[in-house]
């Protein structure tokens, strides 16, 4: 990667290893870089420890989604899903454990995969992407057992409610659809852009981020980021954030979201924006929290830059990892 390529790099996805000591990040060139958090966070960290311990090309197209299971790292790029063993990656071996492709209707363009989640109940992988459908794959057999159709435009994000076993999906068509995971049937469809409080017609109607926490749901994108109560299916608070949000998470009693604009927004459930922490990239695509490891409890964000900001204290940027 020359300096010109680094200048035009965007980080789209991140995932922490099961032990919590490593971070994998995927960029728009199809590369996956593995960083050692323990080295970067140790007291005698140097410039070299902020560089990846392993950097390899995983896919032909951008890696839009990364997901970690207990043993493997799943990456989605160019319409296919590859699995890499974490143990092998740490040993710097870049051989994929397996690669699978959902069945697409033929098209001139290969649809991308934008979101992947795991259903722990029946150990299945749920992916959604450019062909407007949600595919469900059984992790043990690797067979794509079902397809959920309903969206009219490509799917941005997926979410899973464990208690009710429901899948939530948000798409470019502006609809948030709720599906029953057991029966694979659609349950609800919320068109967020139709609600006046949230709608922002000057931007558009797409939904690019979804998050759930028991009965609450966060969604945002073209419309403002808003907190919904699912039982009543109505927005309770709307967050006055200027840009379009691309990822939002619930953390303790805060809501953290990233999107257009070089900052991480901390918001309260009531609808106020508590803080906006500045970051290096000019717009952010992904936010990840390392909750599996108490020693390396950090937040990392990546976006339209080759640098990934690391927050040890969530209130300010500590340092940056660099591709």
């Amino acid at each position: 990667m020359g300096p010109v390529e680094l200048l035009h790099m965007s980080v789209f996805s991140q995932s922490f290893s099961p032990c919590g000591r490593f971070l994998a990040a995927g960029n728009n060139y199809g590369e996956i870089a593995v960083f050692s958090l323990s080295a970067a966070l140790s007291p005698d960290a140097s410039e070299a420890s902020q560089k990846p311990i392993l950097n390899f090309t995983a896919h032909d197209g951008p890696v839009f989604s990364l997901l970690s299971t207990d043993t493997h790292l799943l990456s989605a790029g160019n319409g296919e899903i590859s699995a890499w063993s974490w143990a092998e990656l740490i040993k710097k071996s870049t051989k994929a454990a397996w690669t699978r492709k959902p069945s697409y209707e033929t098209s001139l363009e290969i649809p991308e995969i934008n979101a992947m989640i795991i259903n722990p109940k029946d150990n299945s992988l749920i992916v959604g992407g450019g062909d407007n459908n949600i595919h469900i794959m059984d992790m043990e057999t690797g067979i794509f057992k079902s397809v959920l159709k309903g969206h009219t435009d490509y799917i941005h994000c997926l979410c899973f409610k464990e208690r009710e076993e429901e899948i939530l999906s948000g798409g470019e068509d502006g609809a948030v659809r709720i599906w029953d995971a057991r029966t694979n049937r659609p349950v609800h469809c919320i068109e967020v852009f139709k609600y006046e409080e949230c709608a922002r017609p000057q931007f558009g109607k797409w939904i690019s981020c979804l998050a759930t926490d028991s009965d609450w749901m966060l969604c945002g994108g073209g419309p403002s980021l808003s907190l919904w109560h699912l039982r009543s299916m109505s927005p309770t608070s709307v967050f006055p954030l200027p840009g379009c949000q691309r990822e939002a998470v619930f953390y303790q009693d805060l809501i953290m979201s990233v999107g257009e604009g070089p900052h991480v927004s901390h918001c309260l459930h009531g609808g106020t924006v508590k803080a906006q922490i500045p970051c290096t990239p000019s717009s952010l695509n992904t936010l990840a929290l390392n909750l599996k490891n108490s020693e390396h409890r950090v937040m990392t964000v990546g976006g339209s830059s080759h640098q990934i900001d690391v927050f040890t204290n969530f209130s300010y940027r500590a340092f940056s990892l660099s591709f």
């Binding site: 010109v4 680094l6 035009h8 965007s10 941005h156 339209s304």
Partner: protein
């Protein structure tokens, strides 16, 4: 004898008083000896008055032999004691009040006188003893002296004789220095009347004489021979002179023939004459220029018919330089001496010193590189003698007039034409580290001030001249011709490539300024048939203006901008939308691709930093540049990049109104481009990739 009667003889000693006769005083008062007394014990002296034989003679000398010195000494002591005693008595008497004329005193006085007389005699005797002793000694000494002298004389004679003998024995006759032939040879060679064997065999002396005679004979004969040879040599010398004159008379004739053959040479393309002349001048070139001449000439002959080398400059000055010992060294030494008082020098003197330090060798090389289209790159190489570096100046001559483009002013500027031929070879500072010390002496702070005058001291120029300066980087260990040869081909190719690139850019710029993007037929497949956005302005910028732009800060921070780069601004418009692109072009174009930074003015101001789609457009031209190279040598990169920008702007504007829903009014830009999907991925990027020949746009 001692009791002889007192008889007065001719006394030399006058007795003042009469002495009372006493036995002690019965001493002979002899007179002094008037004539040397021989050891006559009984010296009969003639009295002045005639005396008979039985007159007793008073001879004190004789008495002297008889008396015993020891006894005399005792006598003396007694006399002294008696005298003392008498004096005491007299003293007592006088003290007792006796009269001076009393009888006792008189008596005693008389006795004292007698004692005195005795003393006197004794004294005399002592003196006489002494004298006698001395005389005897003296005689003995004289005898010894005489003998000693005789001894000395004899010794001296002996020595003299010995010396003479020595000299005689050492005598070398001259005849022994002459090397004579050995005896056997002599007897063999010499004729009988000289050798006379019957005599010489026995007599050494005769033999030697004979041998000397023979030697003389031989020498005379050889002297004769020598004279004859000398005469012959003279004759031959004269003959040679004549022939030489004849040859030199041929010279003008040959010159005429050479002149006449020049046209023939040209016709047959064997520039024999020219090469000879050049070789002649080349002898006076300084070594680096000579290496360059040889290597460039060799390369030209072997690989590149369009390269030619020639020498220009003043040959006489060069010859003058090589003759006396280096004047320049003298001035530089003078500079060291005066370094302390540099401040007090007037600026004129300092100027002179500087000029001296920066002096160029009078001869220079001119290398011409011709291109296929007829344009020529002239390179003038100079050698700075005191600094030991080569510099180069350039000139471009083209067949067509190149005054069209305003923005192309800098392209063929001879100052910057050869910038960064190799990466980071700016040619502003001298590559010779020793020059730093020389500059300090004459107060030159940067060589860059003089570069426009003296030429650029690029590192590749030094390498072509075989000069290698340790610069800390990896060194190849080659020097001189080997170094030059190893760099020649690559450098010439780079030079030619540079000229062609610049000329191509020149043409392209004049076209761009007329708002036409020249896309050649080989590159048509990269773009759709219809492109609506058009270039409206193409201008050049200075480095200062570039760094002040807001949307290029990321490029500056990444360290991709250098002072030697060229900066341009392209403006693409369609309808109300205006896209500004700031271009950073490295002098090594097209090996290093130009870098674009975008800023769109349409319904607000957006840049590549704020809008992900603009960043995607930037990466279309910056990152995927290898698609836009075009046919080798890739001179169409820039124009292709600009054309692609126009295409991307079209897509951006046409898909924008599509994606954004709920906008009122007619869309400004109707969808004309064929896109399968208008948004993809989390950042909802537009399809900027053009697919040929199907003609639709897709995502990367």
């Amino acid at each position: 004898m001692s009791s002889d009667a007192v008889k007065k003889r001719k006394p030399k000693v006058i007795r003042s008083e009469a002495g009372a006769p006493e036995t002690k005083r019965g001493r002979a008062e002899g007179d002094q000896v008037t004539y040397p007394a021989g050891p006559h014990l009984i010296g009969q002296r003639k009295l002045f008055t005639a005396k008979n034989q039985d007159v007793r003679v008073y001879n004190e000398e004789v008495e002297l032999e008889v008396r015993d010195p020891q006894q005399d000494y005792m006598l003396y002591k007694d006399t002294c004691a008696a005298l003392a005693k008498l004096m005491e008595e007299i003293q007592e008497l006088k003290a007792g009040g006796a009269k001076v004329q009393s009888v006792e005193i008189e008596e005693r006085r008389t006795q004292c006188s007698v004692h005195f007389i005795t003393l006197k005699k004794l004294n005399r005797l002592a003196h006489m003893r002494l004298k006698k002793g001395r005389d005897q000694t003296h005689e003995a000494k004289q005898r010894v002296d005489v003998l000693h002298l005789q001894l000395q004389n004899l010794l001296y004679e002996v020595m003299h004789l010995q010396k003479e003998i020595g000299k005689c024995l050492e005598f070398r006759s001259q005849h022994e220095e002459i090397e004579l032939v050995s005896e056997e040879e002599f007897f063999q060679e010499a004729p009988a009347e000289i050798s006379r064997p019957h005599v010489t065999r026995d007599d050494q002396h005769q033999l030697t004489l004979a041998r000397l005679d023979w030697e003389l004979e031989q020498r005379k004969r050889l002297a004769e021979q020598y004279k004859m040879s000398l005469a012959r040599k003279e004759k031959i010398q004269k003959a040679i002179e004549q022939k030489r004159e004849y040859l030199s008379s041929l010279q003008p004739g040959l010159q005429n023939i050479m002149q006449a053959s020049l046209p023939v040479q040209e016709y047959l393309a064997i520039p024999f004459e020219h090469m000879q002349k050049q070789a002649e001048v080349a002898r006076h070139l300084p070594p680096p220029l000579y290496v360059l001449l040889v290597q460039a000439g060799a390369y030209g002959q072997a690989c590149d018919k369009n390269l030619s080398v020639s020498i220009s400059g003043d040959v006489d000055e060069a010859k003058a330089l090589s003759r006396p010992p280096e004047d320049s060294q003298g001035t530089s030494v003078g500079a060291t001496e005066h370094s302390q008082t540099l401040i007090f020098f007037s600026s004129v003197q300092l100027d002179d010193k500087r000029k001296e330090m920066l002096r160029r060798h009078p001869l220079s090389l001119c290398v011409d590189l011709k291109c296929k289209d007829g344009s020529v790159l002239h390179l003038f190489f100079y050698y700075l003698m005191n600094l030991n570096i080569l510099t180069v100046k350039t000139k471009v001559s083209t067949t067509t007039d190149l005054s069209g483009a305003v923005s192309a002013g800098e392209l063929l500027n001879s100052e910057s034409l050869l910038n960064c031929l190799y990466a980071s070879d700016h040619g502003k500072e001298t590559p010779n580290p020793a020059n730093r010390y020389q500059f300090d002496k004459v107060g030159i702070t940067t060589f860059g001030d003089y570069v426009s005058d003296l030429g650029h001291p690029f590192v590749w120029v030094q390498k072509l001249g075989g000069l290698q300066f340790s610069s800390g980087g990896a060194q190849s260990g080659l020097t001189g011709s080997a170094l030059s040869a190893s760099h020649m081909e690559r450098t010439m190719k780079l030079l030619r490539g540079r000229l062609q690139a610049r000329l191509a850019l020149h043409k392209q710029f004049s076209s761009l300024e007329h708002s036409i993007i020249p896309v050649s037929s080989e590159c048509q497949h990269l773009f759709p048939a219809k492109v609506v956005s058009g270039l409206v302005r193409w201008t050049t910028m200075s480095c200062q203006e570039f760094t002040e732009l807001g949307f290029v800060q990321h490029v500056l921070k990444a360290g991709l901008v250098h002072e030697t780069d060229l900066f341009f601004m392209a403006t693409v418009e369609r309808g109300t939308a205006r896209l500004r692109a700031a271009v950073v072009m490295n002098p090594r174009y097209p090996d290093v691709a130009p870098l674009f930074s975008l800023s769109l003015h349409w319904k607000g101001e957006r840049s590549g930093r704020t809008d992900d789609n603009l960043q995607a457009m930037e990466s279309e031209v910056n990152v995927f540049r290898s698609e836009l190279q075009g046919p080798r040598p890739g001179l169409q990169l820039l124009t292709n990049q600009i054309q692609r920008l126009c295409v991307c702007l079209d897509v951006y504007l046409e898909t924008e109104s599509q994606v954004c829903d709920g906008s009122e009014g007619p869309k400004e830009f109707p969808r004309e481009k064929m896109c399968l999907r208008t948004a993809r991925g989390p950042s909802r990027l537009k399809p900027f990739k053009y697919n040929h020949p199907q003609g639709f746009f897709s995502h990367r």
